[in-house]
Symmetry: C2
Subunit: 606 residues, 2 copies
């Protein structure tokens, strides 16, 4: 057995409480919904604001209150932050940060413009997006495209410290938002299409000193898994749970990148995040020594870790031996006391790229519910939910949709969902008013043809061509759905013409708001999805709706600025970003609706 690092021996699974002072400040910020203190709204990532001035009765009267152009053209993911009287606006590369004074006509208090080598753009697979700043204890955390993590003084924009988290020359880039827990700030890495071996890293918020790094693949002491204490589906993972699911050294190029929104639960003191696809996409290159499927842990998985030590409490792999690029990075939404099949659980709800909506007990990692949240999903017939079964937790793969069984250089047709998943980074929201989840989805299928690809440092490492399109016989490519996570059922579903690549906001006013790729901002009734408000913003929306209150007035806002993977054809020209990955027909037509341009639109009642 590889020796575990001393931290594991000393600390194990014992929850460490975060230092009280900075934690309190941050929690206070999060619990006052005049603010919007983190990308996820709160540590549970529910994206539910208790503000109710704007509600189902009056939301139809919303008006544009003010707007702000960011000065950057390409895809704008994430949202601003609001802390007290200041709003923090970010942009895609070059990753500008503006602090706007809400007390003084939105004047720019400070602007931060990092110096970055623009060559990083060449290794950003899916537009030059950035999923947003984070706030903690008077600091704004910016994760630059070049992987630099910068702590800025929230009042002045002064650099307090910065660290380089990865190497763009190896294809490592920064697109995800950090997570701040007490004195620890954690950040992942992007690059699953460049053979990057994914990791999560924790830094001291006061100094930028690295505290720990946990890879997604590799030996136990590098993935920070305890063979005895780290659990999966109720059992210890055992020795080298990752290494023994790979052939040879393939785990070193394993993928398992980390770039989605993360969550934290204070009681168990665990952070939750997902890992990306195994790489390359051509699964044949990752077959086991026997030429058969092999899991490739811990790619396409949910991992729960202690934020102070990094040690994993549990992990669950949604898509073993991924053959479709079904990253597992989508956000984890935490809800307490959910009644599932007659028992109460503190759950984690996760809408995976693979098209299944998962409900797990977040203390144990036990899988409670796994159902298709897009009826088109056909790569799997279902997930085994019987804890006594040998295949507990595993999806049953449909042979006809297996790009591995069909083999390299064979085009497997009509696989649903498409490679960008039934949902991608765009976060869903939960509403305690209805007990439902509001999920922005992609409704698309694909033809995928794998081919052999050689690894070359910093070069695309995909090995597949594909095209994407609406499910056969349908013409729309997105839905906003309301989901019951206790039963795994769609409660209602609203059609959208294009992928819904915008994060949803829910509020105590009973509304759910989101944007569309054409550029519409919409608010619907949480109960039945009835459209109550619609307004055209300057560009297509891939940002996340958010809310705040200032001087007694509630505001709702969203970035527009088309791009991201969903709008890469517009953002980077019709040429694909890297060889071998055709964006196909799924994006056709968007250029008839909108053009590039990053801006923030903020609405309020008259």
């Amino acid at each position: 057995m590889r020796r575990m690092g001393p931290a594991i021996v000393l600390v194990g699974m014992v929850a460490m409480s975060a230092p009280a002072m900075s934690m309190d400040t941050l929690v206070k910020c999060h619990t006052d919904d005049q603010n919007w203190c983190m990308q996820q709204h709160d540590y549970s990532a529910q994206r539910y604001s208790t503000l109710d001035q704007v509600n189902t009765k009056n939301v139809g009267s919303l008006q544009v209150a003010w707007t702000f152009s960011t000065g950057v053209l390409r895809g704008h993911e994430g949202s601003p932050l609001v802390v007290g009287n200041t709003m923090y606006v970010h942009t895609p590369f070059p990753n500008l940060v503006y602090a706007l004074n809400l007390d003084d006509d939105k004047k720019i208090i400070w602007k931060y413009e990092p110096k970055q080598d623009p060559s990083v753009i060449a290794v950003m697979c899916c537009d030059t997006v950035n999923r947003g700043l984070q706030y903690g204890d008077g600091k704004i955390y910016l994760h630059q495209a070049d992987t630099t993590l910068v702590a800025l003084d929230a009042k002045t924009g002064r650099e307090l410290w910065k660290v380089v988290n990865g190497d763009p020359k190896r294809g490592e880039t920064g697109t995800g938002a950090a997570l701040v827990v007490g004195d620890v700030v954690m950040i992942g890495v992007s690059g699953g299409e460049f053979g990057v071996r994914g990791f999560m890293t924790a830094y001291d918020t006061n100094t930028g000193t690295r505290l720990w790094r946990a890879y997604s693949t590799g030996p136990d002491d590098e993935i920070l898994f305890d063979p005895e204490k780290t659990m999966s589906l109720g059992k210890p993972v055992g020795e080298n749970s990752s290494l023994k699911t790979w052939s040879g050294d393939q785990w070193k190029l394993g993928g398992g990148s980390v770039w989605g929104y993360m969550s934290w639960g204070p009681k168990l003191n665990l952070i939750y995040y997902g890992t990306g696809n195994a790489s390359p996409w051509n699964a044949a290159q990752r077959a086991g020594p026997d030429g058969k499927r092999i899991d490739q842990k811990w790619t396409a998985s949910i991992i729960a870790r202690n934020p102070q030590t990094g040690i994993a409490a549990w992990a669950y792999q949604m898509t073993p031996f991924d053959e479709w690029n079904y990253d597992g990075v989508n956000e984890m939404i935490l809800v307490d006391n959910m009644d599932v099949k007659g028992s109460k659980h503190n759950v984690l709800v996760h809408f995976d790229r693979n098209g299944f909506g998962y409900t797990l007990d977040r203390a144990t990692g036990e899988l409670l519910v796994a159902e298709k949240y897009d009826p088109a999903v056909n790569w799997s017939t279902g997930v085994d939910l019987d804890p006594k079964s040998e295949t507990y937790g595993r999806p049953a793969v449909a042979d006809s949709k297996s790009t591995f069984l069909n083999g390299a250089d064979v085009n497997t047709l009509d696989i649903c969902p498409a490679t960008l998943g039934a949902k991608d980074q765009q976060p869903a929201a939960y509403s305690p008013k209805t007990g439902l989840f509001y999920v922005p989805t992609n409704h698309a299928c694909m033809d995928l043809e794998p081919f052999k690809i050689e690894y070359s440092v910093g070069q695309p490492y995909v090995g597949a061509t594909l095209s994407m399109y609406p499910p056969r016989g349908e013409s729309h490519m997105g839905n906003l759905i309301a989901w019951d996570a206790s039963t795994g059922k769609i409660v209602w579903s609203n059609k959208e013409q294009f992928y819904v690549w915008s994060g949803v906001l829910t509020t105590a006013g009973g509304i759910a708001c989101y944007g569309t790729l054409e550029g519409y901002f919409k608010c619907v009734d949480q109960k039945d999805g009835k459209e109550l408000y619609k307004n055209k913003t300057p560009s297509g929306i891939i940002g996340n709706a958010f809310a705040y209150q200032h001087d007694g007035r509630q505001y709702i806002g969203v970035y527009s600025g088309v791009g991201g993977w969903a709008g890469i054809g517009l953002a980077a020209g019709l040429a694909t970003q890297y060889e071998g990955l055709s964006m196909g027909g799924g994006f056709l037509g968007l250029h008839e609706y909108t053009a590039l341009g990053g801006s923030l639109t903020v609405w309020s009642l008259p």
Copy 2:
């Protein structure tokens, strides 16, 4: 005497009526205010819409109806056109054109993207602006930065013809909007800061064949002046009126560029436009053979020409021997039957960069009124209005503000207005409801130090350093004023923090609307200037407000997208565009309010 071309001999001052059919189509478009058929709204350039659904009583309830990002960051001057159910949106370089379907959710019917050598940007003095498309008889006319004039099929965006009007390698660029009169489309040229010899050129709308070209400086047969019949202030201009006001060959680098909005009066069949500054700015290099001032005609002048022949009917020079870069290109607004000092006149009203508001009889070119429309103006004590005087029509220059008398390498202080004029390209509007003009002004002064500059083809040819700032003791840099052109008096004046670089719209609803550099769109009461509506757009506004009606609903819109000369510090970075021209303190602070980004915002009542 140089021989005049045959056209002059044959046609002289006889007004030719335009071919009826295409003229009728265009006039019909202009007279239906559901459309916004030309940049100037109408041939009189009054910018007055008869729409009154939005009026002083309800304008406060305006809401953002829809928005459209153009995908281009830099300064957005001009406005869209609306012809029937289609809106035509343009951008600065690369000069994209979008046709939007107002009947179908503003879908992009077609997009035109010219191929241009980006090196043209290096010879654009004052941002990469474009003052807009023009429409005529089923064609959309685009004037590209590289001087190419393109006729596009308005329905399909197909190129019908294109001609190259100038040569960017010599500093000739395209920023102005064309003027279409019947089967003639006329376009000028920019480049006054590069030693360009300005000209106006007419092309056949059906074929693109060049009909005539009239330079601003040079021999009679090249400026298309008839010594006997072309008049100035009631007298024939005489032989070689331009040549004999220059030393040697300096007229070949003369300036007199042509890039403002033009007008046309059907009864006299005359077009009216202004010419730019004499070049270089360093006036000493342009002194007469005796070392004294010499006029340098026809720079900084108004010229009236027949659109079919190009022959000038009359001309008037506002700023002889310009020492301050007071281009005369600002728009000419035509009003009939104005009572001036007891007589009725069909007048031309012009707010010059030099700070004087001029009222002329547009049949005779007689000067009726010339008064300061910014009280700060100090370079001149006044313009001689006595037709019997030898100095009739001439400004009296204040010696202390003469950069020529003070000499090269001497910094002349506190000259008002600054070099960008009391008003620049941003067009004023007229309202027949009040009989007043609504003028967006710059309220700034400068220190200017001329220096000797050698001419080199395609290189900046300025010869001056300067700084600009608010008038001493004041802190605001712009005003919106209401002007009585019959008396030359300011009726009311609203302060603005920055230059008002946005064109004004007046409507039958009694409102005057415009934008600000910080990004506010405002509507005020024509009567007293009272602010009735204010809304923050994504970026600073240098575009022109416009109105249209669709499906029975009135809309008001404006481009935002900070830049232009007023925002060049933001648009091109804080560095100046070319050596020797410091933008100085006048722009300080704008970066605290807004960032780049081109978009259209359209408002309507709820």
